[in-house]
């Protein structure tokens, strides 16, 4: 191997090294600029990463991450054999896939429709209004859901009764949970989700449309043959990111909407980790469950990215 390497004279090596050293010395203040962030990442990201080892140990607070005793895969075996294991998987995947199936296409459709309307007061009004819910806190969203869906005083049930039906106990009936979760998310995020597609659509060359119009293409045809192909790379990237996140959905909202009556549908891995780890203080067991979730997520992300790379040339890396 050594012969293949082009000969570098010792002088150049020293020259490069000197240049590098000079660059470091000259810019020493830039290292001060970045120092707080480096410390942040070490303390709040890398030390917890080191702490993952407690998933294979029996964590005792006084002994710390390193001092606690190794137990191997005990926590994982316990989790896999528990009666709630499949329920957790089913709920986690069920909510995510439902959310993806409904929540992924809607911003695309809305963006394509908005793109057809020329810039006007009307268009800007629709955008301003549909972006707004993005800024409402998850606690207020949960409060709205609970208030609107109340079987006795909620406005939704008032409408249902007006149409002559029986009121529905949305929040205490497990079979409604996923729908409530998904559609409240649609209400909150569809508008905001259009921004990235609208920005991709603004990159379409107007001449393409002009040529198509002269050739007699209808609006619908131009959407299908010009606009949609333009946003396919954006769609692919977002789909990969969504699929790679399928085990880690908006658990903060689920936690707020969860109650003992709907728990059979709302108990997902993330809320389970919170409950067993922080409320029941079974740190090691909860860390093991969290690690399992993270590993599945990473595996999914890598797989989906691989498939995307093979089939469409668009991928995250």
């Amino acid at each position: 191997m050594k012969e293949v390497v082009p000969p570098i004279s010792p002088a150049t090596v020293i020259g490069n090294k000197k240049k590098k050293n000079r660059k470091i010395i000259q810019n020493w203040q830039l290292y001060l600029f970045i120092l707080p962030t480096v410390l942040y990442f070490i303390i709040f990201k890398y030390i917890p990463m080191y702490g993952i080892q407690i998933a294979f140990k029996d964590y005792v607070p006084t002994l710390g991450f390193t001092g606690s005793e190794w137990v191997g895969f005990e926590h994982f075996t316990r989790f896999f054999n528990s009666y709630y294991f499949w329920d957790l998987i089913k709920n986690t995947l069920g909510i995510s896939i439902y959310e993806l199936a409904v929540g992924f296409p809607l911003p695309i459709i809305l963006a394509l429709l908005l793109n057809e309307v020329k810039d006007s007061v009307y268009k800007r009004t629709v955008q301003t209004v549909t972006y707004a819910p993005h800024f409402i806190s998850v606690v207020v969203i949960a409060g709205m859901i609970i208030a609107f869906l109340s079987p006795t005083t909620g406005i939704i049930n008032s409408f249902i009764q007006l149409l002559g039906f029986e009121p529905i106990s949305f929040m205490s009936d497990p079979k409604w949970f996923k729908t409530v979760y998904v559609f409240s998310g649609v209400w909150q995020s569809t508008g905001w989700g259009t921004i990235i597609y609208l920005s991709a659509l603004s990159g379409v060359d107007p001449q393409q449309h002009e040529a198509a119009i002269i050739d007699g293409a209808t609006r619908l045809q131009r959407i299908f043959y010009i606009n949609i192909p333009t946003i396919i790379p954006t769609m692919t990237i977002l789909l990969i990111m969504n699929l790679g996140n399928i085990m880690a959905m908006g658990f903060e909202k689920i936690l707020l909407l969860q109650n003992p009556l709907n728990k059979s549908a709302s108990n997902v891995i993330a809320t389970f980790v919170y409950e067993t780890g922080l409320l029941d203080t079974q740190y090691s067991f909860a860390a093991a469950v969290g690690l399992f979730n993270a590993v599945i997520n990473a595996a999914l992300l890598i797989t989906v990215n691989y498939i995307a790379k093979k089939t469409s040339e668009t991928s995250l890396w």
Binding site: T37, V140, S150, T153, F159
Partner: protein
């Protein structure tokens, strides 16, 4: 004349009809709950509970707001949230802007290693439990630091800011300054910062809204009620109270507040939704433009 109009067929006109119909539908679906909340917060509670009030306020009363404004827990939460938002955002900016600037400099030796070190955490993460234990071992539980340090910087925002610096700061600027003998520190304060007002505004809004709206860190790191941010107080009023009538987690103050006002409870809830979201609504017109800009910068491939 608009080229779209030249060959507009009947099918096109019908299609545009559908477009306007669909957009109006989306507009109404999003707008209706927002109007309803505002109307409900100032209506007669009986009309709200019975469903009689469904769009515009009925028998306008400000009783709900009067009770909200008299509540100590809400005031306290409000003050704490303002503090966490101001202090937290300040820390965020001090971490994010200089870091992003250093990473944007081509002559910064080690930028690749630092970038890899940061980006790696997007894929591998300690997870909830180890992170919690680190925060606890540092003695941050039940201190204001728990509300600002664990989220001192967000990687995504560093990336956006770096892209901004790379695309707006002229290349020759640093060299010229270095030749003039200005240190990096001086260069940053005197030249870079004044040029980066737009990105500082975007970042302040991104982080600020995040602090204002977050509840989860407070939920896991704070048990001292006097430190509760507004969102945790809201959680008690809007969520816990509704979920079970005798919740042990609720403070006496909040429980009493809702209990003694059984009749008014509904409109109080809508009122607190408004009161807590008001500051964000107030800056929303500016917010929207900057946020959209931020999302756009973020979508540029680095």
């Amino acid at each position: 004349m608009d080229i779209n109009k030249i060959n507009e067929t009947k099918a096109d006109k019908m299609f545009m009809g559908f477009v306007y119909f669909a957009l109006t539908f989306a507009l109404i679906v999003v707008l209706y709950p927002l109007i309803y909340i505002i109307s409900a917060s100032i209506s007669d509670p009986a009309a709200v509970n019975s469903g009689e009030m469904w769009l515009w306020p009925k028998n306008v009363t400000l009783e709900g707001y009067r009770i909200i404004l008299q509540n100590d827990a809400i005031w306290r939460g409000y003050i704490m949230t303002i503090f966490y938002t101001a202090f937290g955002t300040m820390i965020n900016l001090v971490f994010t802007i200089p870091t992003a600037y250093a990473l944007s400099r081509k002559d910064f030796y080690g930028r690749r290693i630092f970038t890899i070190m940061f980006v790696l955490t997007m894929f591998i993460d300690g997870g909830l439990i180890p992170t919690y234990l680190v925060v606890r071992n540092l003695g941050l539980i039940d201190t204001v630091w728990a509300m600002v340090l664990p989220n001192a910087v967000a990687l995504w925002n560093i990336i956006i800011t770096r892209v901004y610096f790379q695309s707006t700061i002229p290349r020759g600027l640093e060299e010229a300054a270095t030749i003039d003998g200005a240190s990096n520190f001086k260069l940053f304060i005197k030249i870079i910062l004044p040029l980066s007002a737009p990105i500082i505004a975007v970042m302040a809004l991104f982080y600020g809204v995040g602090h204002w709206n977050s509840y989860f860190n407070a939920l896991i790191y704070l048990s001292d009620r006097s430190l509760y941010p507004l969102q945790l107080v809201l959680r008690e009023i809007l969520v816990l109270q509704e979920m079970s009538s005798n919740n042990l987690n609720m403070s006496g103050q909040v429980a009493e507040f809702l209990h003694s006002q059984q009749q008014l409870a509904a409109i109080i809830k809508y009122g607190v939704m408004i009161v807590s979201t008001l500051p964000i609504i107030a800056v929303y017109p500016f917010l929207q433009k900057y946020f959209v800009k931020g999302v756009m910068i973020g979508s540029i491939k680095e």
